[in-house]
Symmetry: C2
Subunit: 652 residues, 2 copies
């Protein structure tokens, strides 16, 4: 809201963004002084506060707004849980080995990068590259080993079809592709072997004897499912309700190379919404019907295309494109959340999973994908997992994980039922009494009616499995019609699961927020919305003179009381340099304290994106900046309230 | 502040508290339906919100108040880091094995429980038990296998001395104690073997080849140290500054049995305050000088006693009991934090580590211990770790981890220095030139002065290690006095480390908050302060009638806008039962909506501890409850504003 500047006038340069994020310690490779470990990153002050603000907004937008039940369950998990959930058998990626060096590569990523490089080389050979290549593009081209070779039209068509369906292939198909299209390790030009499965869970053992195998969870979901009965009880036995958890998960990725987009340890936020399988409507769906998304549906992809369409969530549910209202509700809420924190809606789409891509038990699944320099990246998954999870854990442990619902109208059914004269039965048949009872219990309704008819004629003859015959009379057995009243309905709820990868969202947000000033491309700016910006207000005393101290203290205290997080920069450099540093940290507003502040109690306020400066009395400026930070007014309105500043002290 | 009730009129009953915490799902054994795993717990909605509120207050009290730099570093850590830090070699507990069953026990805990049981048996034999034993005490006595046997006075004395110094013993000493006092496994009455070290870190391996050994961090501290240079840079190169991190850590405890007090996975909050080793004063120490703590110092314990004394932090630092101002500052801030969130100050003490208990590099260490039914439990550690951590990582990696400080006054020193005539040296001594230079470089100031004297006489003779002699003249070498100016001071900062175990604090807080009403001991109450209570306000419509809905919605929206977290309980039970449930959840205030609310726009407000009820107009009650929740007024003041309610609808 604060920004009135066209941020896209400059070509995006990933290497400049990466340098900024490293320089300002948003995040950095973990254990850097020990040489680092691929896929592990530490968040510094700016990054961890940005992450904390995204989490706070997530908690407000989802947990508080919809009264969800928050959980905090353990990461270390005994093996049995993941054996039941299917993770031990199936939570794996396909990897291939370079036949000569033994280097390990993720199979689908290899196919993707090689085919994309060939298509890029073909495009260049056909002279189809629109703009002259930027530094960034040149770097990427070199990394991807693009060689300029024109391909046959039919081959181009084949490659594009393969890429559109890549997520639909299993290991054997990928192996076949590697042979058919001579796909090799681009680093060595060696062939690769057959794809093999590699389980992505980190393993450990629990306790001093080393006998109890454990895994680090690869998602938080199992913690919700295992506590289902306690959650249901907490919710007074009613569905629908949702549990929510924000926490760390681990995946032992094969060869992570994509920064925060593919890491081995990450913070997730997951919701498990438990719902009646016979009624997946949502009471608040009407509030989000008109939310418009960009959708890429299953059928389009399965036909080898990637054309998207704009559609409201309401229409998508009405037409059966999104399977049900609850799933649609969450798709819309995910959209709103991402746009609120600053994701560019033009670079956000929802892609439906294809048939083979989805787990066999799932009904429907949509990924929120965000476009960035590596392409479209899945940042949120939103799946209808049906009753799978609760059913398998219940079956394995023998613990019912069901909802018992009092029926408003009891269901009345009539049924034939056997009535025994136990005494006569025992006396007549002795040790065979049990066998006879079992035979009758095994009969269905039709069988019982036939028996009833025969008994009404005087007697009936039953035959045991071993061929022994027994003749029964109404003295021993009668069949009577009984009325049964069922007043409780018992069912396993279905689960709708929105699952957020916070690190991926954070990285995409940084890409979407980054730009450079036309007059100074070296000078990066992160136009983070005030809602998530790590620091909301920078306080800049003109110099380290003691006379500024009381005003700095006063402004700091007043902002803290207003709930606005500020920082003081009294370092020994020019005001311009201090502001430049804070443009890179995404701080939306700066207050400068100079001699006029001491004499007239005025301060200037500077807006990050426009560098526009306004002046006012201390309390007026604090009131204005507070409203700006909480999103009640925009910068245009602030400019109505405060006159332009054109003094000389604080210019940059 | 809200409470005006004497909560200690009833004997504390741990089994009732445990039942409440389980029933209301504050927390529960993780993987319960799979039989659970010792030392792993899941937090339910009440527990995780309580924890989130404690964390929010921690962030405000420490990070925001002192402008600390927040970090979020990885849990998975390559082995090399913990080899350097000493954890691979020394982060271990002593365990003993039952010689017949092979059961594993923690050695020091075994000694403690057996000796304490013998002392309890002795006390009973002497008829010293004051009150008749409660159910709770009986249960504990049975669990601890107390047998009533009177001991010799001298033996009692010995046991008490051992218990006071237990943390000071190593494995061999504990083994000796087991033999000398015939300490056996209480479960089997079998002897135990020699104590052996068991490393408490969970191990795993990183990447698809399984070659990279990793550990789950047992504390967050290393993540701070490894990022020291980046943090220093973020802080414009200045010390002191502090980094802070809240995150999960793991310890593979030998046989955890003490609920949340000893777990294998837990959330910590750690501060690393980096300070000039030559100046450990603290600019804000004057603000906390008068904070009074209960202290148990090292000397008292080493003399075998456990007598505490009340002392201000100022006096403790002045007298050298606490080593320095910065350590004292944090002791006081820890005290304030714990009391703010609801820990009973009468059950809080600071215990200093004894000589052998402390790491060899540490200067001083104080534990904040909180008394609970298991005794005094360490909940916060506060150590001066000197320069140890930065030094070892720097030495191992070759990366300087130092502060470079421009000196206001450069340090000027004079020194004798060798000046060579390289040409003459080479010409005269050929291949021996290097040897000669090395001999002179190896001389200290005194040696150089002697050489200077001899050269001024015409010549000097040097002898190599092999006994070869060289005669030098001033043509080849002169010694001159030079002035050296040092304008940069370089030093490795020291680290003061306050380290919080949040689960332990949370559990002690629950014990300190729990009581039962005299008229109804079945009815538990958790008198959590509004600051940390999971829900601040319960909204209770008299019944599920639709006419209450608009008022419920209005109050919910107004409280949300005021930043007060509320929940609605419209379940189908009596108001009394709904309030009882929320007393157990620690909800401090309840608003009842009845027919008068619809007719007159009034609601009643109920205070949890006194069950006192007041009535007022909706907006007045919302304004009052908001001030109560934010701690601006207390219940007495609320009673001044709102008249007593003595209607009939809402009585319990």
């Amino acid at each position: 809201m604060a920004s009135t500047v066209n941020k896209t006038t400059h070509t995006f340069d990933k290497s400049r963004l990466d340098a900024l994020l490293n320089r300002r310690f948003f995040y950095a490779p973990a254990f850097e002084i020990y040489g680092g470990v691929a896929g592990l990153y530490d968040y510094g002050p700016a990054g961890s506060t940005l992450q904390a603000n995204i989490i706070a907004e997530w908690r407000k937008h989802f947990i508080i707004e919809d009264g969800m039940l928050e959980l905090d369950t353990t990461i270390m998990t005994p093996s049995a849980v993941f054996e039941t959930s299917g993770h031990v058998a199936r939570f794996a990626d396909w990897m291939v080995k370079d036949v000569k060096t033994g280097d390990v590569l993720r199979a689908d990523h290899l196919v993707k990068s090689v085919l994309e490089a060939r298509l890029a080389g073909d495009k260049e050979a056909r002279g189809q590259e629109a703009a002259p290549p930027t530094e960034d593009k040149k770097r990427k081209k070199k990394a991807a080993k693009v060689t300029v070779v024109k391909l046959e039209d039919a081959v181009v068509q084949q490659y594009e079809t393969i890429l559109a369906q890549l997520d639909n292939y299993g290991g054997p198909e990928i192996g076949e592709l590697c042979r058919k299209y001579d796909i090799r390790n681009p680093d060595t030009d060696n062939e690769v072997g057959e794809p093999q499965q590699f389980n992505l869970m980190f393993q450990s053992s629990i306790g001093p004897t080393g006998q109890h195998k454990g895994f680090l969870r690869p998602e938080t979901a199992q913690g919700h499912f295992l506590n289902f009965n306690r959650l249901l009880d907490y919710n007074n036995g009613r569905v629908p309700f949702a549990s929510a958890q924000i926490g760390r998960s681990f995946r032992n990725e094969i060869s992570p190379r994509a920064g925060l987009l593919r890491v081995r340890e990450f913070t997730m936020a997951e919701i498990e919404h438990f719902v009646d399988p016979e009624d997946k409507s949502h009471t608040r769906f009407k509030e989000v019907r008109d939310v418009e998304i960009v959708a890429l549906d299953r059928h389009t992809q399965e036909a080898g295309n990637s054309e998207t369409r704009r559609i409201t969530v309401g229409e998508a549910v009405d037409k059966g494109i999104i399977a049900n209202e609850t799933l649609g509700y969450f798709v819309a809420r995910i959209y709103q959340f991402l746009v609120n924190i600053g994701i560019d809606p033009a670079r956000l789409r929802f892609r439906q999973h294809m048939g083979n891509e989805m787990a066999h038990y799932a009904t429907d699944c949509w990924d929120a994908e965000i476009q960035n320099t590596t392409g479209w990246t899945e940042c949120v998954g939103c799946a209808d997992r049906a009753a799978y999870d609760l059913s398998v854990h219940s079956a394995k442990t023998g613990t019912p994980l069901v909802v018992r619902q009092a029926l408003k109208e009891p269901i009345v059914t009539e049924k034939e039922a056997a009535e025994w004269n136990k005494k006569a039965l025992g006396k007549t048949f002795k040790q065979d009494a049990g066998t006879i009872q079992k035979i009758v219990e095994g009969l269905d309704e039709t069988g019982l009616i036939k028996l009833k008819g025969e008994l009404s004629q005087g007697s009936t003859t039953l035959k045991s499995e071993e061929g022994k015959e027994f003749t029964l009379t109404p003295e021993v057995l009668t069949i009577e019609r009984k009325t049964l009243k069922q007043s409780i309905r018992e069912f396993t709820p279905n689960v709708i699961e929105p699952s957020f990868g916070l690190g991926r969202i954070l990285y995409c947000l940084l890409e979407h927020s980054f730009w450079a000033r036309e007059q100074d491309v070296e000078r990066g700016v992160l136009s983070l919305p005030p809602l998530v910006a790590p620091t909301k207000v920078l306080i800049v005393p003109l110099s380290a003179r003691e006379e500024f101290d009381p005003i700095v203290a006063e402004i700091t205290a007043k902002l803290r009381r207003a709930g606005v997080f500020s920082r003081i920069d009294d370092s020994n450099t020019s005001i311009g340099k201090r502001y430049a540093r804070n443009d890179e940290l995404g701080t939306p507003y700066g207050l400068t304290i100079d001699f006029a502040s001491v004499q007239n109690r005025t301060v200037t306020i500077r807006e990050r994106d426009t560098m526009d400066q306004r002046i006012g009395k201390i309390d007026d400026v604090i009131a204005t900046v507070t409203e700006l930070v909480f999103g009640n007014i925009d910068w245009a309105e602030a400019c109505n309230r405060l006159p332009k500043y054109d003094g000389v002290q604080a210019v940059e």
